[in-house]
Structures are given as structure tokens and as C-alpha cells.
Symmetry: C2
């Protein structure tokens, strides 16, 4: 029986096959994410992986349904596996908004799902580091969030040579749009502006003729759009964010780049995306300000400015592999207890228990096993030490790296491992 | 908009409402589970939360579908949110069986799902600590697994006064069944034996008359069943397991109790359940040996003896709350950087950055804020210390517990926090 297409099995390393996920690498990434969030004083939250379909269509419109893993449950509810975390966050924050001091700084590490019928072979799930700040309108919050993004990537050993955060502004693009539109006497409606943003968002990936045609149809010219992007002049808001990041010593990691606009309809201010510096991979992370979403999700009841980003595990893992920044994962066995005299098995089990209670990762043979096989197993497990009872009272501890041996009293064994 | 019934939102503490889950308590539990698994040298794995429906019906028969969160996906596949981890484990182990040295010791912390139409208000998801050993037939593996279960519960501060592992044997019950059945000339088929096990499993929860009637219909008497349970004589296999646990010093945590038989059809040897000692809660954990399952799931291709247990987060959390064994969770802010002179904001941001880089959890005001409000915020966040720049070169660090203050050079601030 096979797993479903687009889903990953996560095995302990060494991996049995190139085509499976690594549970160790996943846990390594999750721990780094959680640690940097802690240093930035973000608190963890989570919601259900399954939500009412309406939560996602309210935010993104009915067209999102084509990309969702949605179905009707046994209670006739239209539900969907979450494709992103922001609607859940907005729902949760709005539900108990008055109980939280502002600014709210929260993060989550959700598994997210999508179902696109055409793209077989592409993953249908991934994990994401989601960090959001709610209740703060000023650009200091944008800078704090971008600093967190930068430090999240740096915590893996990535440097300014490896990645860059491209900073842009929906406000700047909105002004551009409004200015040109009114001059040309073009239509002014949300769908039109959204289509314009979508076209800008795809500029770098789409064939130039296609973008040219689309912009033309929307009443804009490629020339004026290119000129605006190339000018790269930061807005006052972006300037404040850049100065804040400069004060932190993080200037090298960020640059203004108006190619970034983010395709999603709900962004309202600064937007940004992190890319590997060589441009070999898809975006590492993306986010921005979405001041109207909590109001929308809460049906107008709660109005909270907000901003956030998501960083996926898949592209990050590809980059860390390419830059050789993943540690070697192995069983991390601290002590392999050799049982060569079966008469000493009960005392050996007690030793195993005591060493584990003292915090060590301990392995031993379940059944009578030839000494050479036991030693081989200890080596396979990459054990740091072996411990073998000489008799009921004394244990011989051997360091497998230095080959040094000591003999210690059994009751004292744990102290000799430090 | 509301979350779906039976699902939990997990908020950071202090919780905004009694009716929501605690992300902090959840993470606390997960960390304890992962730490004890590490000490026992179990390796982490995970599979998809969504699996082919067939994976679960192959193991448990079509009647399981009534309890599953199942649906047909957009690719017309019959799929289900996993109700348990064992079928996924069996699938994963079988897929690459030859690549793993035996015994395989693996654990996972999956979220599991079920959908029972009748029981509204009951949870439809929970998390479970799943630990399994594959490739070892002897009772030493059963003892290792039960020791892990005991130490998992002990790691939360629970003692032999708080919980007990009730150890039983499918083999003993099978012998009982075969012996009585052949004497009485009863039918011998799997469904009949399964119904018998189900009735034994429910003895303690069902009304005596009902059990009596059911046993009678199956060709057994309550008297002989009660006598067998009360005798409590360990089989040779159970005796070996008990001696192994005694050698580890864990005798106080386990007792033979033939009330336990486990309702599921696939158990084949020792079975066990952990309960709170006062019998106030549902089972904390349950498991046993299932030597035929990997063969069944792999369509006969891979034959691996196996055993495992699952420990849920919901009952465990109830017990830890009742025994007051949960720590107080708060924001764990190490340093609140006060910015009283806005002229020093850039230097203060640099200090924030440096302290975070040094590993501290740091908070500060995003915007110009009255000093008393800043201090109040530091107290709300339960910050250990405040740090305030005297000027560009010196920082005043105040311990909010001892109220001691020191003044240090800015570059040296992190060293003064140790």
C-alpha cells in the first residue's frame, strides 16, 4: 500500500531512500524556528488543520476552492484542510481580542495543504513557520517582523551571501496604480487593481510579451512599470523600516525591490519576500501587512492591524542542503551497555535505567548476543561510549572516540559520563 | 466564524477562555515525550495525516469507516484523516524494511482524527505519543516498551501513587477461550473470539447483567471469567516481563490485571493499559504486541513482529492538571529593553539585537511610550530584567526579582545577564 501522491513520509536518518522525507531534518528546522521565535518573544499558537471552507473563501474568494483540499464532512459541513494559517490566526485573535495586550506577537508551525488537480508530483502538503504581529500600525512592527525573518534564516548559518529580503510596498504600487489610472481615465475597481498586482507579481516569471500584453489590456505600459521598478526609491514608510533594520545591523540582508508585490489580494502596506541570493530557488518566505483581514474574518466585529510572514520547509531544506548547512543526523546514542555475561543482565538493566534517568540516550541488546555483534551494533549506532559490567559492583566505560577506558562503581557510573 | 465542533484552538497562556487549548501545555507535553524517547534511543518518524482509506480498513475491517474522518478527494480517491498511527508505521516500515537494523525503535507525535456522528461535543482530534519496537519477538522488547511508558509518565512528576500499568496477555485469554470453548463444544471462528475479547474489554464499564448475557450468548459464564481474572496468575511470558521491569526498579508501577484485553482485533501477545491510580480518568495509554499486522498491511511481503503503545494528550493533561503537575507558563521574557529617550532608539534596537543574538528573549516598546507604561508592560510580561541605555555607551540592567541594578558597557551587556 502506498502513501497518497503529494504527501511525505518522514523517516529517521540515515534515510532508506532518496524519495522520502527526513524526520530529523524536520525536527532540526522546527527547533530553530521555535528558538528564534522565543528570542523575539513571539508566543506559539495553533489551530485545527481542518476549518470551515467559508473561512478561506471569505478571505480569498470562491476561486480559491480550486486549490483547496476541501470536502463535505459527515455532518454535511463544507470543510477544508488549511492551505494557510492567516485566516485561522485572524479567527482566533478576533474571538478573544480583548483578552490580549497589544501588540500580539504570535507564531505557529502548521502543516498546510493544497490540492491542485493539474500538478501531479508537486507536494500537496508542507510545513510553515508563521509569525504575525497584531495591533500595531507603525512601521516599527514591520521592521521587527523582517528582523525575525532575517534571524530565522541566519540561525541556520545562512549569511548575506546566501539570501536577501526584497522589500516593497503595496502602498507605493497603489499610488502608482491610482496616478496612472486617473491620468489614463481607466476603470477603478478592486478586481482591476488586483489583476494589475497579479501581473506585476508574475513579471519575473512570465514571458515579457505576455506581461506586456496583460499590462496593455489593463491600461498600463511595460515602460512605465519598468521605470517605476528600476527607480527603486523607497517610500517614507520603507525608509523608516530600512533605518530600523540598519540600527540592528541588518542592512546587508534587505533591499528595496518593487518587483515584489505579492499576488494575494489582502495585503495593505509593506510586503516582502526572501530569496536565495543566487536566484536558484523559489521564494524562501513571503509576507507583509494586512490591516483589513481581521475585520473581514470577524464580520466587522474586530478591527486589528496586522502583518505576518510564512516560511516553508521545502525550499528552505533545498537551500540548506545545497549550502551544506544541515548537520549529520544520527541516532545520538550516548551509551551502549554491553551485556556479555547473561548472569549480569538484571544488574545491566538497572544500569541502563540509571543512565537513562540521568538523561543519557542508552541502548543495549534485548537478547543474548555475541560480544563482537554487540560492539558492531554500538558502532552502527554511532554510540559515544560503551559500558560493560565487570561484576555486580563495577562498570567498565569505554570512550569509542578516544578509546580511553575507566572502571567505576556502578552507582557512580552516570557521573563518569559527563 | 467558529472553529469546527470537536477541534481545539491552542492559545498561548494565560488562556483567554476556559474552553480553549493551551499551546504551551501542548509543547511542554511534546517536549517531555521527545526527551524520554531520546533517552530510550527511539527515533522519530511521521507520516501523512491523510492516508488511503484502505490502509485503515485493511487493518480494522469496513466497520471502522463509521468512526473515521473519511471522504473522497478531488482525484476520486477514498481517503481518511488518520485515526491512529500504527497502520502508517506498518506501511512505512514495510516499504523499506531491509534498510533498517533490527530492532527498530521508533516514535511519533501525530495528531489523530475520528468522526463519530452520535457523540457531539466529544473531541474529534487529539495528539498521541506513539512508540513501537519492530523486529523483536522476545519479551525483553515488551519490557523495554513498558519501561518507556512508565518513564514517560514519570517524567511529568507522576509517581507510583498516581498511576499503574495493568499488564495482561492476549495469549492467556486465547488459551482460556480455546480451553473453555472446546469443552463446551462451542464454535471456533475469529469473529466469535473477537466478540469474546470485546466483552471482556468492556467488563468494567458495562452493566454486569449485560456482560453476563453477552458471555452466556457466546457460550461462557461470568463465574469462570471472573475466576480467571481474580486468579491473576502471570503467564511465563508476563513473568519474564515483570522480572525485567523489577531489575530496572519499576515493579511498583505495574501489576498483572486480566481485565485488560484491548478491544482491537490485531493484538497477539502481552497487552497493557496505564490508568490513574484512583480510577478517576479514562486510560492514559494502551498498547501491546501485534506480530501479524506488518504482514497484513504489506500484503504478505514483509513479516515483522511488532509491539507498541499510544498515549493521548487529553487524559494526560486532565491528570496533570488534577495533580497540579503543570508548571506555570508565561511569556518567559528575559529582558525588557526600556526606551525612555527616543534619541537612543537606534542604539536600543542594536542592544535588542545583540541580546537576542546572545540567546535571550527580548521585548521592547515599538513606539514612544511613557516610562511607567513601559515598566508595567515589562511586569505584565513577567520579564526577569529590564535594560535601559544611560547613553550610547552604558546600559543599566535591573533584576526585577532582587531589584538589584548594575551599569555595564553596552558591548558587554549580554555577559552581565548570565
Amino acid at each position: 500500500m502506498e502513501r497518497l501522491p503529494g504527501f511525505r513520509d518522514f523517516y529517521p536518518e540515515p534515510l532508506p531512500h532518496a524519495d522520502v522525507g527526513s524526520a530529523d531534518a524536520r525536527q532540526f528546522i522546527f527547533q530553530k524556528w521555535r528558538d528564534v521565535a522565543r528570542r523575539y518573544n513571539f508566543r506559539e499558537y495553533d489551530g485545527p488543520p481542518l476549518e470551515p471552507l467559508e473561512l478561506f473563501t471569505t478571505k480569498s474568494g470562491d476561486e480559491i476552492v480550486g486549490q483547496l483540499y476541501n470536502f463535505t464532512d459527515k455532518g454535511s459541513r463544507a470543510v477544508a484542510l488549511r492551505p494557510e494559517m492567516t485566516p485561522t490566526l485572524a479567527r482566533m485573535a478576533a474571538a478573544h481580542e480583548r483578552r490580549f495586550k497589544k501588540p500580539i506577537k504570535w507564531f505557529a508551525v502548521p502543516q498546510l495543504f493544497r490540492y491542485e488537480r493539474q500538478q501531479r508530483g508537486r507536494l500537496r502538503e508542507h510545513f510553515q513557520f508563521n509569525a504575525d504581529i497584531l495591533g500595531e500600525t507603525g512601521p516599527a512592527a514591520d521592521a521587527e517582523l523582517i528582523a525575525l525573518l532575517i534571524d530565522a534564516l541566519r540561525s541556520f548559518g545562512l549569511t548575506a551571501r546566501d539570501f536577501v529580503v526584497r522589500l516593497s510596498s503595496r502602498n507605493a504600487w497603489h499610488e502608482f496604480y491610482e496616478g496612472r489610472r486617473s491620468k489614463s481615465g481607466g476603470r477603478a475597481d478592486h478586481a482591476h487593481e488586483y489583476n494589475f498586482f497579479q501581473t506585476i507579481d508574475k513579471l519575473e516569471r512570465a514571458p515579457p510579451e505576455e506581461s506586456d500584453k496583460k499590462l496593455d489590456a489593463l491600461g498600463f505600459s511595460m515602460a512605465e512599470v519598468s521605470q517605476f521598478i528600476e527607480s527603486g526609491k523607497p517610500t517614507a514608510e520603507l525608509e523608516t523600516i530600512l533605518q530600523n533594520l540598519a540600527a540592528r545591523g541588518l542592512s546587508d540582508f534587505v533591499k528595496v525591490d518593487y518587483h515584489v508585490v505579492r499576488g494575494l489580494a489582502y495585503y495593505t502596506g509593506a510586503v516582502f519576500e526572501a530569496f536565495d541570493a543566487r536566484g536558484e530557488f523559489r521564494a524562501l518566505a513571503g509576507g507583509g501587512r494586512y490591516d483589513n483581514l481581521v475585520k473581514l474574518i470577524s464580520g466587522g466585529k474586530v478591527d486589528l492591524p496586522a502583518l505576518g510572514f510564512g516560511m516553508g520547509d521545502v525550499v528552505l531544506l533545498e537551500l540548506l542542503r545545497a549550502r551544506r548547512l544541515l548537520p549529520r543526523f544520527d541516532s545520538a546514542t550516548d551509551v551502549f551497555v554491553l551485556i556479555e555475561d547473561e548472569g549480569l543482565r538484571p544488574q545491566s538493566l538497572r544500569l541502563v535505567q540509571d543512565l537513562r534517568t540521568a538523561g543519557y540516550a542508552v541502548e543495549y541488546p534485548f537478547t543474548a548476543t555475541r560480544p563482537d555483534k554487540q560492539f558492531k551494533r554500538a558502532q552502527e549506532l554511532n554510540a559515544t561510549r560503551t559500558a560493560r559490567l565487570e561484576n555486580a559492583d563495577y562498570v567498565r566505560i569505554r570512550d569509542l572516540k578516544t578509546r580511553q577506558e575507566i572502571v567505576a562503581g556502578v552507582a557512580d557510573a552516570a557521573n563518569h559520563l559527563k
